[in-house]
Symmetry: C4
Subunit: 321 residues, 4 copies
């Protein structure tokens, strides 16, 4: 029983390089996700929908069946994911149940079952199935890096968002005061004026609603200029966030490197550890080599004794004694 | 008297972790600020306004009363904020009165009292109450970081703004010369043409006013391309500003770290100092650990004596003598 | 034969500084590329096309002839490009044939010959000739740097693109659900709603199609705000990518520098090697000088002996013994 | 004669801190420039122009007179700007004549004199007077920093611009092929389609011209997504450029710092040199202090002798001998 569960957990996990079963399951699930997204999109085209109604329904049922089985298996096998986790099984399963990935999985299948029990039409909820795309993040380190940056900089993003919100309210209030007498249909209330404020402060600028009085154009121009700063804010935060991540990956590599170089002997095991870390950190080979060269250079320089003039190669230290 | 004032100053200050009274006051004031912003927005919706006129008035009076008392208490207790400030009390209060935060607080309550004494309708000034939102910056280190970046890079922003202004004038003058004969209503004067110039140079691009002659489209296209550089300017400044802040926080941490590691013994007190600084700088725990590891590695490497080959651990130094 | 081929290979390669023949060929080919692009653009202007029909045809024939000869010569001589390549000639030529540059060259001439053999009108394929512009990247290190950044960060770009795609689908689905009853012509299906979603999420914001219901405007406003993050993503990735490239160039320079300074004697040969590397890396002269100064400073500091207090200049080391 | 010229050169130069005459001249000239810009803008408003015609003319004549005298004096005194310049005076004046600043000065006054001699109306050239604003860059280090970044990264900007140009041509050609049959008025030729391409690739997005066919919308959507990359390019270049500048300023400071700390004694003169450099580099005081602390820490660490355990303070070194 426990062995079957363990094997299933392995198969459901991505990235098992030489595990054929796991790879087949991965490819199958990804394809099914993509086909489902395509299905949701195409179903909205009425000609297509009426032409293939039966086929679409069967595909729907098949997908939900597969995803439901997958979901249940993941809940069941999640206790084998972390061997060091000593909590009771039900607590591990509960924790997994509330993890974002599992919730997305649930949201992808729930609307179908809800539509069986509730008479009101919840068909539009099926669009949430698109969130299955996020399952793919399991397969991409670059996407995880981006999500990491968003997560680490979330305080800054929240702060930037509240500044945007403040400015939105000020912009909407200002344009409402100036324009609501002249254009009562477009700027009749602050919530209504918000549509213009959002289009302007994000530099989208639809132009379906614009101020027409001189005062409104002057105020609108001011908001237009402030919008440059607003757009710059998330970009600046992200750019800095990416820099920090890159820097940190180099530092991690450097720490291991220093550790390895300390005893003066670089064993084959240590070299392969370094290579594994390099790949894990998604560090460019050229980058890594340069870090090694710079580090080695420093090391040898430090061992270049100013008193005897000899260069102490790490491996020669024992002979010196 | 002075003890009451001191206690009140403590309560009104945010961030007193184990001070229940202070926390309740904080939550109450923040909620009231948010409700007031909501009030200003909803009052502009005429159906809502006429339906709840009396309630809104009473909420208005209540809010102003609370904020007025808060404002007066802050002015009174501000002399206890900095124990090292030896200036006479009236000068400290005057300085606090003209601080940006105190001015925003004043602007939030003043329009109400003005409307009591002056007969002309200053109701629109009530929208300034929205600025109370900025009080919240007291509660967010991330927002203070963003404001810091804006403040430190203000020279660059002013320079970027004057370049934008120059380009605005050139763009408006150019399009005026080319288009004012064909579209006298839209480009009748340079100030009028400024509306198009602002929408274009900030890449908002409403499209309510666009050049129609070939010459105008050619010139407009040029401005369009220049706009990419204009939008890039504040973003580049901000991105670099965030990098500098991050770098500086790491350096601050490194300075304390070096100081601590110098004598070779890291006491428990020093470790907790480090942790306090880390939280103050909003440094990621992982980040901090890496800085420590890198620093320690360097330290030990330096103590790796080239003469005897032994590694001198900091704590063993006294034995060596 | 082989000597002629070698000489031709040299002539066709860019950047042979003192090779007059090569330079003339370069200038001629670049001019012809530019004239061809201009030709494609001007041919679309019907007055111009009818006025100069014969001339344009002859120019067309002449250009194709030149580019065909150039293409064949490049295929023939490509085996001399890399003297260390020991693969048989046909394999080298095959590899060159499928290189992006060679494919662009082929795409630029193929449509003309196809139009001779196939009766259907493939004239519109001539527009692909514009891709000849990319040949110019051979002449610009700055453009190669930009392409490098794009290539190295391609994983991040793919990840950012899939996030954009996900959001596009969610935005289009959402607005379709909300607006397709009210505006069946604009938001009649998800693929149709995609046009609005793309214009909004990229902050282009044409405004030809906009939501008109309150719900649609609320959802549209949300998407509008998310668009700021979407636009920030590629910018942040690129900004960080450029930083990494700059940092790496400095590191490369530092590695050579350390190597040179290690033995304490900087020969004239080493100085000129350094200068060659500096130009290759497109490093500012000021930048390079600072790197040297910083490096030297460090070196001398290390040689400042704490035991005797004397400063050991590299060249004096041998005398000390 | 030469003394008068020298004094005049001093007066015309900005930034002479304790030179009252120079400061008065600066303020006067800056005010006049601003008033002239305002004059050009206001003259375009027809009501204003007709109301103050005479006054505007006299102001015009007065300004041109002042700027002409200033221009001639600058040409005359420029030989005193650089005492080390040994070229003959006429060559120095010629070089100054062709410097960008001098050309802008000339362009600002030339149109007026031209209108006296040539009968055709060159009044529109007066708008060039706005370029006088760029004179102000003499007074702002932040603006000079920005211009520096633009100058140093100009190769990257040119490369980015040629990529934009290539994409513009491809986008315009593509949309022309797809849409010119359906919308012959908007997309009748590639140059005409360029207007849409420019508005789209720069994310301005006027929306006055948009594709209406399904194919056109698909292609337009692709261009829309590519536009995000195009907008990211100059921003990324600028962000990296600002980082480099900041880094370089720190390095410059570090070089002087290391030089000063080398001999172990920091004289008062050296401290004030450091302060002068800090201000010149526009380095934050906090930043500078941290650089000093980090540098000192390193220095002392190096002098912390591992054999005797004593910390060798720089000033105690002589006693040790």
């Amino acid at each position: 029983m426990s062995t079957t569960r363990k094997r299933l957990a392995e198969i459901l996990q991505p990235y098992r390089i030489r595990d054929k079963a796991s790879n087949y399951v991965d490819v199958f699930l990804i394809s099914l996700i993509f086909l489902n997204v395509l299905d949701v999109i195409m179903e909205s085209v009425s000609e297509f929908h009426s032409a293939y109604e039966t086929q679409l329904l069967w595909f729907e049922v098949f997908s939900i069946a597969v995803f439901s089985v997958e979901y249940l298996l993941r809940i069941w096998t999640c206790v084998d994911l972390d061997a060091h986790d000593t909590r009771p099984h039900w607590r591990q399963r509960l924790a997994y149940f509330f993890s974002p990935m599992a919730l997305i999985d649930l949201l992808a299948i729930l609307p179908f079952f809800l539509s069986l029990f509730i008479s009101i039409d919840l068909r539009f909820l099926r669009v949430l199935r698109i969130l299955r795309i996020f399952k793919l993040t399991r397969y991409s380190t670059a996407m995880q890096l981006i999500l990491n940056v968003f997560r680490e900089e979330q305080n800054s993003f929240i702060a930037a968002f509240s500044m945007l919100l403040t400015l939105l309210i000020i912009a909407a209030s200002g344009i409402y005061l100036i324009e609501h007498d002249v254009q009562p249909d477009e700027f009749g209330s602050i919530p209504q004026a918000m549509w213009w404020a959002m289009a302007t402060l994000t530099t989208v600028g639809y132009g379906d609603v614009t101020p027409i009085t001189n005062g409104g154009k002057f105020f609108g121009g001011l908001i237009t200029i402030i919008s440059m700063g607003m757009v710059a804010l998330p970009t600046g935060i992200l750019a800095s966030g990416f820099n920090v991540q890159m820097h940190r990956r180099e530092q991690k590599f450097n720490i291991l490197l220093k550790d390895i170089l300390r005893d003066g002997i670089v064993t084959d095991q240590e070299w392969s550890d370094l290579e594994v870390l390099r790949k894990e950190l998604d560090l460019n080979a050229e980058e890594a080599e340069m870090l090694i060269q710079l580090s080695e250079a420093k090391k040898i320089q430090l061992q270049d004794c100013p008193h005897c003039g000899s260069i102490l190669h790490p491996s020669r230290r024992s002979e010196d004694k």
